[in-house]
Subunit: 336 residues, 2 copies
């Protein structure tokens, strides 16, 4: 049974367990600083498929498969799948799960999708609605760029604030309270829009949402940055990360070296031409599942606040002169 | 606390209550057989806005407002909003809720979205994760047609199996067990794809999913069609409804006059040129909230199985030769 606090945080009285996790990534991500962490890597961006969209579905299937292998589980043991991606109509997720027979909830939270799926799966697992609930998210550079910005073949110039959509996926399988790591609390986010309308500056559009949700989480749980070994945002990139730290400094709170951002971690900005950093649902999903959860399970990280951020931008409404709404969801993960 | 059955149905041991509900619709829906049922009707398809996309957001806000009025509630009392629509990036929902300050879960289930949102909201309300949880879904003929098929100005010919996307919205607000109506059980759906690849025959793509989820629900709850006053699918239209009845007849089960379909109810097919019937997330959402829930609350309908169906089609993958995956989610609603 979970407990709801007045400002929107859900505290798990009997925290559900992260039973298994898996990650998959493309070649460029494998060449980045975390390359050796991913469970599955493909040298081929098409993942053996004939279109980018089908490639992303295959990528998701690899992340799910790696989670199943790590947990010694079969797909049939999953009660409910919460999945999403950046493609319109959640295409990658729908087609990746089409033949699985797993009961399916389609989710759209832009790059915040992994945390949104984990929040849903955690509440379901906690409430007894399902034995094992999975959260799955992905992004693919080639499907995202042509949908949200310009066709790749066009060769458009990228601005310094632009982020690079990661070709990556992560999957977390959550069950009722047993062994660590545990999900101890979640804070779903509010839509926050301060008027940014540049699709090449998503970090600035998302940072206020991250600030809002993390502040709420601190308040509801009576915690401060020092209580966490890692406050992991994703994917603010370097522009959004700086804005987030500034927003907290205005409150007299220093995130200091407790904060890191998945978009800053997945690529080497000196060596890889990604401008402000990585982005995409798969960026935070793969960094969490490939790099972080193992360190929580091993006890190296005792208390992690995972805050995936999303720019809920609509290409149609941007063309109509609208700004980009941001959102961020927090999931707190503990090693004991 | 909810109880999970092995075949995927979630039984609510202490069923959450439908605290309030509201509906809004456009002129053509108001001219249909259920026209007098909707709480709010606009003669103007643009709902006072300058674009169809913004019009759909305004439509959603009207449905939410009507639910709040009926429940004597304020927006600030809603803990979590589960919302979705047919627009890419859940645009209508994101922009309708942008200024609300309500914690937001974006959902994509195509035309099954209302049942998906209600299932999520019911589990959250039941688990104690939130005081009041809202489910909100909409569709708008003009945003859907130009996104999924052809621009309206093109004047494309419609096939006999084509359905007409309803311009409508519905909102249900769910809280912990108190007064009826109650949500007693939900069965989330599996993705089902029997190879239909005609975007103008969604009924055929969705009917097998409806059959699968309703069958699972019957089995898990030990019920048969006679136990229900109404088995309400949405939106199979006349083609999909006939397929659904046939699929059950193969099992020796007659749905008989217990079955009706939101897509068949919202328009008068003799008088209104809608071909196989209505469709869109807003069709089932508005029929449920405008026409059905009041009759459950009044005791006229004691036991309703609401099964919203979705064609999870991706325009991009259809162009790549793929078929249309279908899904259906069941929500059981009782008057006592």
């Amino acid at each position: 049974m979970s407990r709801y606090t007045d400002n929107g945080t859900i505290i798990m009285d009997r925290p559900p367990s992260i039973v298994a996790y898996g990650s998959a990534a493309g070649r460029m991500e494998a060449e980045g600083p975390l390359g050796s962490c991913f469970d599955y890597v493909s040298e081929d961006s098409s993942f053996g498929e004939r279109t980018w969209e089908k490639a992303e579905s295959r990528l998701q299937q690899h992340a799910l498969e790696q989670a199943l292998i790590r947990g010694g589980l079969s797909e049939g043991e999953i009660s409910f799948m919460f999945a999403g991606d950046l493609q319109s109509q959640c295409t990658a997720s729908v087609y990746s799960m089409r033949d699985s027979g797993v009961r399916f909830f389609g989710v759209y939270g832009a790059c915040s999708t992994m945390a949104e799926c984990m929040a849903l799966a955690a509440v379901f697992a906690d409430s007894g609605a399902g034995n094992l609930c999975a959260a799955l998210a992905s992004s693919h550079f080639c499907t995202a760029e042509r949908q949200f910005r310009t066709p790749e073949d066009y060769g458009g110039q990228r601005t310094p604030t632009a982020q690079w959509t990661a070709t990556a996926s992560g999957c977390v399988i959550i069950g009722e309270h047993s062994a660590p790591p545990y999900i101890t609390a979640v804070t779903p986010g509010r839509i926050t829009d301060l008027g940014i309308n540049d699709a090449n500056n998503m970090g600035a559009a998302m940072a206020p949402a991250a600030y809002d949700t993390i502040s709420s989480h601190f308040e509801a749980t009576g915690t401060s940055p020092e209580d966490y070994d890692l406050i992991l945002t994703g994917d603010l990139g370097c522009v959004g990360s700086e804005i987030l730290r500034d927003l907290f400094l205005h409150d007299g709170i220093s995130l200091g070296d407790r904060h890191n951002d998945c978009g800053m971690m997945i690529f080497d900005r000196d060596r890889q031409d990604v401008h402000a950093g990585g982005s995409g649902c798969g960026c935070s999903a793969s960094v969490l599942c490939g790099h972080i959860l193992g360190r929580v399970k091993g006890g190296e990280l005792g208390n992690v606040l995972f805050c995936a951020t999303g720019a809920l931008m609509s290409t149609t409404l941007l063309q109509q002169g609208e700004s980009i709404p941001g959102i961020a969801h927090c999931v707190q993960i503990r090693s004991e």
